[in-house]
């Protein structure tokens, strides 16, 4: 619950809107209950005294209720939109500080998607949890005060029943939801993994004739998820029935005391019915709150995780050069993982073209992560332009490096805007030059909308190879003096690969170039070649 309060704390800036929404909402609740109560009172009083009491008030409350409900919807939705925009921006800022090295760099797209789902789970926090709960807090004393004419016993009984339905049952529902959240997430995750496996491995599935087995696997994971959902639904329904019975018992209490105080009994019954209509929805709000609390915890953890490599308190001046040097670097991603580098020493001189070879898993991508300050060596130093990276601000170091990684993301935007990410002020000529160099300009020219073609989610409108080449064009567009290209030829056929490598020299003129590849084709003009193996780098022929 503290996590939820922290999330609410993020909305301080919107406090005026949120409070305004809360006030209008409370007034609307009061008006709604008021209409019912005054209508009941009119009948009761007319019977007792023969006078038509407060018809004007009834009209006023009736009209007021409609107007207030409309205003409430507008104000609270406006406030919610503002609050959830704030939450998203805050989350994105936090994540960009903390997760670039961990989650984003190592292709954990589904983890990130799950976190986005968690942020979405917080959307209903204000509208569906805070507001109804505040309404119930207002109604409880109102109920007791208005019912005191029916005798304190009736008033107390209704008060206790209302408190139970509005606060205790939702609380229990929240606890159940929070408890089952784990099981739901686990079973849903296992269903997703099985589905992704079966679909990614469609070739294997067909080659081994495993369609039936895969369908059965998906069905059995689904059965586990449905069982978990059913369990939660059963308990939620129980809480809902509990709230319903509380309402019925409260009506019964007023009815039982009706003989003693008949005039107040009619508005009393109407009041209780209206109040419990609101309380009836609260157990469901409790379930939401239980989910939201768990989501809030995860969102806070992700957004407030410490940066993988904190910046030095007093950063050194950025060096002029763009050489790169690894000096007996020891590194492992996690303490319980085997070391990736075990005394790695490797040099990339200024304006040199260097190839780095190595089997997959030998740490080629880790090399890039260290250079980009996404990770820091446990021992040894990485030097950029002769200055220890540990002394430089991460933003400064990254601005010197143009990087094409395995997990480089294409945004669901136009080709132009994807490219401009690398250099916002670039003109069309520069964009075409980069596309030309990446051997993709010809394809882009055939598109009816050219640079303004939408690339689709994750570059889905293009083939994998074309997507990689767009990402390559983006990397080439940067004016960074040091280019690190991780498998730039993936997705190219042999002929195009040769062409690309021979023009790479022009593109990289005056820049330092690090080419990370799994094999050499022999046409690269390289000054030096390093081979990674066993956590060391060995100079190979160059």
């Amino acid at each position: 619950m503290t996590a939820l309060l922290r999330i609410l704390g993020l909305w301080r800036r919107r406090i005026l809107w949120l409070v305004a929404g809360l006030l209008v909402s409370l007034l609307a609740v009061a008006a709604g209950v008021g209409v019912m109560t005054i209508a009941g009172r009119m009948i009761g009083v007319a019977f007792a005294t023969g006078v038509l009491a407060a018809p004007v008030a009834l009209d006023a409350f009736g009209v007021g209720r409609v107007v207030l409900r409309y205003t409430e919807r507008l104000v609270t939705h406006g406030a919610t939109f503002r609050a959830l925009a704030d939450l998203r921006v805050w989350f994105f800022r936090g994540l960009s500080r903390s997760a670039a090295g961990g989650l984003g760099f190592r292709q954990a797209g589904d983890v990130l998607a799950r976190l986005v789902g968690d942020v979405e789970a917080l959307d209903g926090l204000y509208l569906r949890i805070v507001l109804p709960l505040a309404g119930a807090v207002l109604l409880l004393p109102g109920l007791v005060v208005l019912l005191r004419a029916q005798g304190w016993l009736v008033a107390a009984a209704v008060g206790v029943l209302f408190a139970f339905a509005a606060f205790v049952l939702p609380r229990l529902a929240a606890a159940t939801a929070a408890g089952s959240g784990d099981r739901l997430a686990r079973t849903a995750g296992s269903l997703r993994i099985t589905a992704v496996d079966a679909l990614t491995g469609l070739r294997e599935v067909r080659a081994f004739g495993a369609e039936g087995r895969m369908l059965a696997a998906v069905q059995s994971r689904e059965a586990a998820l449905l069982a978990a959902q059913h369990e939660l639904a059963r308990r939620t329904a129980l809480a809902g029935v509990g709230a319903l019975l509380c309402g019925q018992a409260a009506v019964l209490a007023v009815l039982a005391g009706a003989g003693a105080a008949p005039v107040g009994a009619v508005p009393g019954v109407f009041l209780v019915i209206a109040a419990f209509e609101l309380a009836g929805g609260l157990p469901r709000a409790g379930v939401l709150a239980g989910h939201a609390a768990a989501a809030a915890q995860r969102v806070l953890e992700a957004a407030e995780a410490t940066a993988p490599v904190p910046d030095p308190p007093a950063p050194a001046r950025m060096p002029a050069g763009a050489s790169l040097r690894f000096d007996s670097v020891h590194f492992r991603w996690r303490a319980d993982h085997p070391p990736v580098f075990d005394g790695l020493t490797l040099e990339v001189p200024e304006e040199a073209r260097v190839g780095i070879l190595g089997p997959s898993g030998s740490g080629k991508s880790t090399l890039a992560a260290l250079a980009l300050k996404l990770a820091a060596p446990q021992q040894g130093r990485v030097l950029l332009g002769g200055t220890d990276l540990a002394l430089l601000p991460a933003v400064g170091a990254r601005s010197r490096i143009g990087w094409l990684g395995q997990a480089t993301h294409l945004f669901d935007d136009t080709i132009r805007r994807n490219l401009l990410l690398a250099r916002p002020e670039a003109d069309d000529a520069a964009l075409w030059a980069a596309l030309e160099a990446a051997r993709i300009a010809e394809m882009v020219r055939t598109l009816p909308n050219g640079l303004d073609t939408w690339v689709g989610e994750g570059g889905a409108r293009f083939s994998g190879g074309q997507g990689r080449r767009l990402a390559l064009a983006r990397a080439l567009l940067t004016q960074a003096p040091l280019l690190i290209l991780d498998e730039p030829c993936a997705g190219l056929d042999a002929e195009t690969e040769r062409e690309f490598l021979s023009t790479l020299n022009d593109v990289a003129k005056g820049r330092t170039l690090v080419l990370i590849v799994h094999r050499l084709t022999g046409v690269e003009r390289l000054d030096r070649i390093w081979r990674l193996s066993g956590g060391h780098a060995v100079a190979a022929a160059g």
């Binding site: 009941g40 018809p55 009834l58 409609v66 997703r192 099985t194 898993g361 996404l374 916002p424 889905a460």
Partner: protein, 569 residues
């Protein structure tokens, strides 16, 4: 694609989605019948309870003291109503679950039958999202929207009839106010439906943008654009809010009409009965109170219907996605002449004037290809990428059928083989084997689930999986794949080779098996592959040094045609 054509296609999908939703709604209505019956019974109980309350209050007001029978009846009915609502809610959950189960199996079957060709156009993650999330999003359609749309008609009718029995004027008031709801909804702009559809779409778009930016957060940070993107995200959200609120101002009018109708009915009836009491014209206070208490019961289901509209919108979005899936699987083609083979004698494969075109814009992939591989021999398919090597392998695996020509295995056309028979004949190793979430042992056993423990270990030894597995925390029982231990490309390829050893099929298809390996690992993997190839018919597609590792006939492919070069030792 021309934009007009794209619009047409989108319109087609939407129309198809609508038709599909109608059909699903019919199916769902059947499943929802118990929910409707139970909820309807609960509503009838509520009407009876309202009468009891009216009777007790009327007795008190007219000085007849406490009316015990209706009081007791009220309490009993409360228990009945609670039981009915409990059962209705559980039934609704069950209807939603059953429909999702049916739909998910259907979607998954369609995807599995469409086969590997699907991955040429769609990303597996996106397809999995359809199987998991889109089907989940349909829950509200079955569990809430379908029952609510029936109840919104049935319950007001019964409440109206009850009111008619108590006071015809009250029934008239309810009817008029009730009619106000659809009329008001229709006149408030183009209705709530269009407006909230737009709000829903706008929100979905914001969420998609947010997810996209979060997925690419590393790229954004490394280009130093985090602050700009955060600002852009805020701007997009603000812009969205402005536009959405403009729409909502109208959309909420229709909700206001519902509120107005409810309040008007209550006020009119209260004033009517108040005046009648004052003027001593009221004969039955019970009837008056009963009519008043029926007002919330009349409008409750209408409100529930409005609330469930959101569920309907979610379903519409999901239906669009499901419509984009390949059509339902065709029934398995009948007469299948199975080829019986003895592994020792191997199989003979022949292509005779085979043509295949994936995409007319890019020309034929195979353009009259013919060759023959005798049993137990090796054929190396060489040539640049795009020459048609993979197409040959994919035809033999049954991933795709040739447009014309004959492909025979031991003389039998593979078009006549059922997929199971073909899969029994072939073992396949591609460029990047997929490892499923599970242990290494389970991944090997995938090739032949009925294999014994010792056979699996034998295959692991033959493929040299045992060697690297010894260095892993749990040996062959180390989990790999999603959430497990990451294997290198060479190690994964060894697991694939172990699968092929375990399967022990007479025809071995190798599609660039070392394309993504470094030279040292490549040499080791080729060594294992040569041992696997002993005594089998092998077709190897490769444009690299892998080709030289295998002795055998070599066919150079150029633009889908064969250029035989030489026969090496």
């Amino acid at each position: 694609m021309a934009s007009a054509e794209r619009h047409e296609k989108a319109a087609d999908t939407r129309a198809a989605a609508k038709a599909w939703l109608r059909q699903e709604t019919r199916l769902g209505s059947h499943a929802a019948r118990p929910v409707v019956v139970l909820s309807f019974a609960a509503a009838c109980t509520a009407i009876a309870q309202a009468y009891c309350v009216a009777a007790v209050l009327a007795a008190a007001l007219t000085g007849r003291g406490r009316a015990v029978p209706p009081l007791v009846l009220f309490a009993l009915l409360a228990l009945v109503r609670a039981a009915l609502s409990w059962a209705a809610e559980l039934r609704a959950t069950r209807a939603g679950a059953a429909s999702r189960r049916r739909l998910r199996s259907e979607v998954m079957t369609r995807l599995l039958h469409a086969g590997p060709g699907l991955l040429r156009e769609r990303h597996s993650g996106e397809l999995a999202a359809t199987v998991v999330d889109r089907v989940e999003a349909l829950d509200g359609l079955y569990a809430r929207w379908i029952p609510a749309s029936t109840l919104a008609v049935l319950v007001p009718i019964v409440v109206g009839l009850a009111a008619l029995a108590a006071d015809p004027v009250a029934a008239g008031v309810l009817l008029l106010c009730g009619l106000l709801v659809p009329i008001g909804m229709a006149t408030a702009g183009l209705g709530a439906a269009a407006a909230s559809r737009r709000q829903f779409l706008a929100l979905a778009r914001l969420q998609a943008r947010f997810l996209d930016r979060v997925r690419g957060v590393a790229t954004i940070v490394l280009y130093g654009r985090a602050a700009d993107e955060a600002a852009a995200l805020a701007r997009a959200a603000d812009e969205l809010r402005r536009r959405t609120m403009r729409v909502l101002r109208v959309a909420f009018l229709s909700s206001a009409v519902l509120d107005l109708a409810g309040a008007a009915a209550l006020v009119i009836l209260a004033v009517r009965y108040g005046l009648m009491i004052v003027q001593h014209r009221l004969n039955s206070p019970t009837a008056a109170l009963f009519a008043l208490l029926l007002v919330p019961e009349f409008f409750g289901p209408l409100r529930g219907f409005a609330a469930a509209y959101q569920d309907h919108l979610h379903a519409t979005g999901a239906a669009d996605e499901i419509m984009r899936l390949p059509p339902a699987a065709a029934p398995i083609p009948p007469p299948a002449r199975e080829v019986r083979t003895v592994p020792a004698h191997g199989v003979t494969v022949a292509f005779d004037d085979v043509r295949l075109t994936w995409d007319t814009a890019r020309g034929p992939a195979l353009d009259g290809l013919s060759f023959r591989v005798p049993a137990g021999e090796t054929l190396v398919l060489a040539g640049p990428s795009g020459a048609g090597k993979s197409s040959v392998i994919e035809i033999l695996l049954g991933f795709v059928r040739p447009d014309s020509g004959r492909v025979t295995v031991n003389g039998a056309d593979i078009a006549d083989l059922v997929p199971e028979a073909l899969s029994r004949l072939t073992a396949w190793i591609g460029q990047r084997p997929v490892l499923f979430a599970g242990t290494i042992r389970e991944n090997i056993r995938f090739a032949r689930p009925e294999a014994g423990q010792d056979q699996v270990e034998e295959a692991a030894r033959a493929a040299r999986v045992v060697e690297f597995a010894a260095g892993l925390p749990d040996g062959l029982d180390t989990p790999v794949g999603e959430g497990g231990y990451g294997l290198s490309g060479g190690q994964a390829q060894r697991v694939a080779i172990a699968r092929a050893f375990l399967k022990n099929a007479p025809l071995l298809l190798l599609d660039e098996p070392t394309a993504h390996l470094d030279p040292t690992t490549e040499a080791e993997v080729l060594d294992s592959l040569r041992r696997l190839a002993l005594g089998r018919t092998v077709i190897l597609a490769s444009h690299s040094s892998a080709a030289h590792a295998f002795a055998g006939r070599r066919v150079d492919l150029r633009d889908g045609r064969a250029v035989p070069v030489r026969v090496s030792a």
